[in-house]
């Protein structure tokens, strides 16, 4: 039975890393949002599983927030924004897909090497969770770096936060304050982003970050 518990937790956390890879090569915004919803769904399942095996009912709240807000509301709202802005064309990636995937694999390998070596004394479940969480965080960073579009940068950032939630729930008994704050920060962050997207629309008629670069104060 213990073996099964461990395997399912492992499966879900590993699944999150795989979905992060899926995010990495999506070249259409709609598809990117759908995959992000899947990302949040896998996270919610993983957190709920942790809540069950740790016997920590407050984690169900975190899972619920991930499910409703990140798998439901946010993708729908972003979908609308994209529709209204009429930018559902292809995303321009800075680096090619092949190279990005290779970089992603290297990052995952790096986080495995670092985390597994460092946490040799921790219990196996927490340590693999942490290694997966770091992979998701690094992949989220990679998404942010390789995208030029504001919406996909935001998706990258949210997938990064998903990795943090995975790490926080994997650390057994971590106080509730922090989990709520994580959820809250996502909410606030989203409001901020929402406002910004509309303001950017107001000023630039595009959400392409390249357009922003033109207005740097130093170039005259």
């Amino acid at each position: 039975m213990d073996r099964l518990v461990f395997d399912i937790a492992h499966l879900l956390a590993g699944g999150l890393v795989l979905v992060s890879f899926l995010l990495l090569y999506q070249d259409r915004l709609y598809a990117l949002l759908n995959i992000f919803a899947l990302h949040a769904l896998v996270l919610a399942l993983s957190v709920a599983w942790q809540a069950w095996i740790q016997d920590a009912p407050h984690l169900y709240v975190t899972a619920g927030i991930a499910l409703t807000l990140k798998a439901g509301v946010i993708p729908v709202v972003l979908h609308r924004i994209i529709q209204r802005l009429g930018i559902h064309r292809e995303i321009e990636t800075v680096v090619g897909v092949g190279l990005t995937m290779l970089a992603g694999i290297a990052l995952v390998a790096l986080s495995m090497v670092v985390m597994l070596r460092v946490t040799a004394e921790a219990d196996p479940l927490a340590r693999e969770d942490l290694a997966f969480a770091l992979s998701v965080v690094l992949l989220g960073l990679l998404i942010m770096v390789t995208r030029r579009n504001a919406v996909s940068q935001v998706v990258g950032f949210m997938s990064l936060e998903n990795g943090l939630v995975l790490a926080a729930t994997g650390a057994k008994g971590m106080p509730l304050v922090v989990e709520i704050s994580v959820a809250f920060s996502i909410l606030i962050a989203f409001i901020v982003i929402g406002i910004f997207l509309f303001r950017i629309r107001e000023r630039f008629d595009t959400v392409d970050i390249h357009a922003l670069d033109r207005f740097r104060g130093e170039r005259q």
Partner: protein, 483 residues
């Protein structure tokens, strides 16, 4: 004193947050500007009273000790003077129509939320709570940087938001790792995030996990400090936001992030098996210093130039704390205090200059000492202070940093002195053009209070000439805590 039911810690936190709620509701901007000033003054008084009232026992969430009192008093003092400056600054912005009364309601409420967040971060005993407070401070400043809604302001706010969030995310990962390291020793639950408990038992933590945690924390909070490879948000955010916010960002928020790094440095120092955090901080500090010193030469925007100067000085301070030991820590603390006071005074001056000249471009500002003698000479004194010339306070702290480095690691002193000299040249070169020569640009008189600027410069001058013995003893005490 204890007969009154007075809670200094409560006042420091509740006055700003309560006022923020009130300011969000009141429509009259003259009233709100005064209320903002009053609240900042009361918070400052409450912070001063921390010296006199009995300190509360360190609890689950809050802690008052020798280290954070200095930070809190400095933060609330500069917050107060900035609110004085801000009152005259925004009156002018309203006149020329860059801001509307609706913006101001938002601005004042955000200013107080920012003061609350910084005080909370400084007084927190829980590393999770500290993280939440720094995140809150980041979000409020993002909103304020983007307030003018120009192309540049939006780009700056977006960049600040993205880089700040990534930094904050890395710091949270580091915080989780610290919890993981503490859990086997301290046990599950809230205690494993309480800083005083962590320090007491740090010797038994898993050193390897602590090392990785510190790297994440240094990178994460280091982004907020503006250390070299992670500084990209800082010049834009300083240049495009309202000037009072530039003053608070440079003078205070960078310190708060550095304070977080220092807390974790103490934690690591308590564990014999962990790496020494010093060399990492020394490297990042020196890189920031030398990099920013060269960047100073090519600035065309006056606020951007002083933003790079902030990176330079945060580099020096991080370097000093990284060196460690009683003398270098003392120098670092002194330098931090002096830099906060001087840099916010400079931003006050620059705010007035940009308003009377109607531009921030260095090339379009000339002969300031002829058209506005008080303002021009104050700016000159501020720049002379920040460049590190005697007899002002920064000269003394820089001298201490350099001499303590020469005594212990002469090789490190070479890049340090080199960076200082390069920055010195750049600053004097630029200020010469701005202050002297044939006047260029607007000559309208300044309708503003110079009081905050003079107060800061007078303090810096006084500290350079004579440091009171109790202050020296206090700083020496903290330097010993920092190890």
């Amino acid at each position: 004193m204890n007969a009154l039911p007075y809670d200094a810690v409560g006042a420091i936190l509740l006055v700003p947050i309560g006022t923020a709620g009130l300011l969000a509701l009141l429509p009259n901007y003259r009233l709100t500007a005064r209320l903002n000033l009053l609240a900042a003054f009361l918070t400052f008084l409450a912070a001063l009273s921390l010296f006199f009232v009995e300190r509360p026992e360190p609890g689950q969430y809050l802690l008052v000790d020798d280290l954070n009192i200095v930070f809190i008093v400095l933060t609330t003092f500069v917050g107060f003077t900035t609110s004085v400056f801000s009152a005259s600054y925004i009156a002018h912005e309203l006149e020329i129509g860059r801001l509307t009364p609706a913006h101001l309601r938002f601005y004042h409420a955000m200013f107080q939320v920012l003061m609350f967040a910084m005080n909370l971060a400084l007084i927190a005993n829980n590393i999770g709570l500290m993280w939440v407070a720094i995140e809150l401070a980041t979000l409020t400043t993002v909103l304020m940087v983007g307030m003018y809604r120009t192309h540049e302001a939006l780009e700056a706010a977006w960049k600040y938001f993205i880089l700040g969030s990534v930094g904050i995310a890395l710091a949270l990962f580091g915080t989780i790792l610290v919890y993981m390291a503490a859990r086997p020793t301290v046990g599950e639950g809230a205690d494993a995030m309480v800083w005083t408990v962590l320090v007491a038992q740090a010797a038994d933590f898993d050193p390897a996990l602590l090392n990785v945690a510190f790297v994440f924390l240094l990178l994460g909070y280091g982004t907020k400090v503006g250390l070299a490879p992670l500084h990209a948000w800082l010049p834009d955010a300083h240049a495009e936001g309202p000037t009072p916010i530039s003053a608070v960002l440079s003078g205070l928020l960078l310190n708060v992030a550095l304070y977080a790094v220092l807390r974790f440095k103490i934690l690591l120092a308590a564990n014999p098996g962990a790496i020494a955090p010093g060399p990492l901080m020394v490297t990042m500090g020196l890189t920031s210093l030398v990099f920013a010193a060269f960047m100073l030469y090519r600035r065309r925007d006056i606020k951007r130039m002083f933003a790079y100067s902030s990176i330079e000085h945060m580099g020096i301070i991080t370097f000093a704390f990284g060196m460690g030991g009683p003398l270098a820590n003392f120098a670092g603390l002194l330098h931090m205090t002096m830099h906060s006071l001087t840099k916010s005074a400079i931003f006050f001056a620059v705010g007035h200059v940009a308003q009377v000249k109607g531009t921030q471009k260095i090339a379009e500002i000339r002969g300031l000492t002829e058209t506005h003698p008080w303002l021009g000479w104050s700016l000159v004194i501020g720049v002379v202070a920040i460049a590190g010339l005697p007899p002002l306070g920064i000269f003394m702290s820089e001298f201490l940093v350099v001499s303590s480095t020469f005594a212990r690691e002469p090789l490190l002193a070479i890049p340090l002195v080199f960076g200082l000299l390069v920055a010195f040249g750049a600053l004097l070169l630029r200020v010469g053009g701005i202050a002297f020569g044939a006047p260029l640009g607007g000559t309208a008189p300044v309708k503003a209070s110079y009081l905050p600027m003079f107060a800061h410069l007078a303090l810096v001058l006084a500290a350079g000439v004579y440091l009171p013995a109790p202050l020296v003893a206090w700083f020496q005490n903290i330097a010993a805590i920092l190890g």
